[in-house]
């Protein structure tokens, strides 16, 4: 049976990882190359690289760093941030990305999902969606969670799945940063309507939160987090040991 996946997400700006603390045996925590390799060597099942660079020069630097990471890491690599066109797909795939994560680019132009899937296959297109409750409804937010798009999240996700999104990353704005656990209600609602893999994001604060996630929602395929890994609050080998003790199948 396939394993549940644990995925650290690295935010990269101007060639550096935005947050991080000192890990033992890691020379430079701000280097995406060093940190990516550290996670890969320590049991991460996949990595997500997120480009939060604003400038064109920054984007060039990101491309360069991405290539360096991809040449040293032999686990799947997803790249997101600033993906608006098929040329953007092409740019990151040529640097060694395996999957491309689309978010606001797909909101602006939903055909991006369709075109990306047609050209590179469904497995290559990851839909990332920022969701927040408004008057009891799950709504899609844009601009890093600042702007309500007016679209209902479940119909948006279903629509993107039909257009060829091969995986769905559900970021709950309501639980993000709160560290009180994943948004189980929201994730359940998504799992009920899609048949592609669902990746939970937002809210993990401790090892137990991952155990609860996979125990409560067996249809969730992966847990994604950033700061709890970067700040060493959760270490991946320890997390996987705990998951295995709870009869959750993981790669160790």
């Amino acid at each position: 049976m396939i394993t549940k996946r644990i995925i650290p997400c690295l935010d990269v700006r101007d060639g550096r990882v935005v947050k991080g603390v000192n890990f033992q045996g890691l020379s430079d925590v701000s280097s995406p190359v060093d940190l990516g390799k550290f996670y890969s060597d320590n049991g991460a099942d996949e990595l997500v690289f997120y480009d939060i660079t604003a400038s064109v020069e920054g984007r060039g630097l990101f491309t360069h760093i991405l290539q360096e990471v991809a040449s040293q890491i032999f686990i799947p690599l997803t790249v997101g941030g600033g993906i608006h066109t098929l040329e953007d797909f092409d740019r990151v795939l040529k640097c060694g990305a395996d999957k491309v994560s689309v978010n606001s680019g797909a909101i602006k132009n939903p055909n991006l999902v369709l075109e990306g899937a047609k050209k590179y296959g469904n497995q290559c297109v990851v839909l990332s969606v920022d969701v927040k409750r408004v008057d009891g409804k799950f709504m899609v937010f844009a601009k890093g969670g600042r702007e309500n798009t007016g679209m209902e999240a479940l119909s948006w996700i279903k629509r993107c799945e039909k257009m060829g999104a091969g995986e769905i990353v559900v970021n709950s704005i309501d639980t993000d940063g709160v560290k009180k656990g994943f948004d189980l209600e929201m994730l359940q609602a998504v799992c009920d309507i899609v048949s592609v893999p669902v990746i939970a994001s937002g809210g993990a604060g401790c090892v137990e939160d991952f155990v609860t996630l996979f125990k409560t929602l067996p249809r969730v395929d992966a847990g994604l987090a950033a700061s709890i890994f970067h700040f060493g609050e959760v270490d991946i080998p320890g997390l996987k040991k705990k998951l295995a003790e709870n009869q959750i199948i993981v790669r160790r």
């Binding site: 049976m1 290539q67 040293q72």
Partner: protein
């Protein structure tokens, strides 16, 4: 030198890098002469079967590969590259493959338990057939170790050549082998240390 066949399908960056790490000399090439002068051949591939095999035939590299394999040169097909080694694929129609491995490529949905997700995507454990000697490709790998899969179609009718399977609510062909022809449905170049050990074993053939 190992030739990685470039026929315009997919991204060969990681594959090339992975051989760099294990210290093997590789060349990504679409040149038949380079493939002929190589010691081993890698046939990669992602995307749709029909498009990929058409591109391979259009370049004429299908014939080069078949001739070199006939001479005894080791060939490793990866993912769609493995599927192209089969006689036929039923992905969106019916298409001829290279015919090096008996059997065909069919959707995994009827093979696996209902309710399981398709594609079969993620890390799954290798199961070696009990009645066979372990493949030389797995000389550094144990049964139960994890490799990375991404596929919706799989090899069937090939039990004589199956060298490993993966359990996914049913048994899926993970790799095949017939004399000097090898194929992995999973991506060794994305399977961490385990994958690198499999590529190393291929380099040492």
């Amino acid at each position: 030198m190992i030739a990685i066949v470039d026929y315009g399908v997919g991204n060969l960056f990681s594959l090339k890098s992975s051989f760099g790490v294990i210290g093997a000399e590789v060349q990504v090439t679409g040149d038949g002469e380079v493939i002929r002068s190589s010691e081993k051949i890698i046939l990669p591939g992602v995307g749709a079967f029909e498009d990929a095999i058409a591109k391979l035939r259009k370049t004429g590299l299908d014939k080069v590969i078949l001739e070199e394999v006939e001479k005894g040169k080791p060939l490793l097909g990866i993912c769609l590259g493995m599927q192209m080694l089969f006689q036929k694929s039923y992905e969106y129609g019916e298409h001829e493959g290279l015919g090096l491995i008996e059997g065909s490529i069919k959707p995994i949905a009827p093979i696996i338990e209902e309710g399981l997700k398709v594609p079969h995507i993620g890390w799954n454990a290798l199961v070696f057939p009990k009645e066979k000697e372990k493949s030389i490709l797995y000389r550094y790998v144990k049964g139960g170790e994890f490799v990375y899969f991404v596929h919706s179609y799989a090899g069937v009718g090939c039990s004589d050549t199956v060298s490993a399977t993966a359990e996914y609510g049913g048994s899926l062909t993970a790799s095949v082998e017939k004399e000097n022809v090898y194929g992995t449905q999973f991506h060794p170049e994305k399977s961490g240390e385990v994958g690198l050990k499999i590529l190393k074993a291929f380099c040492e053939l």
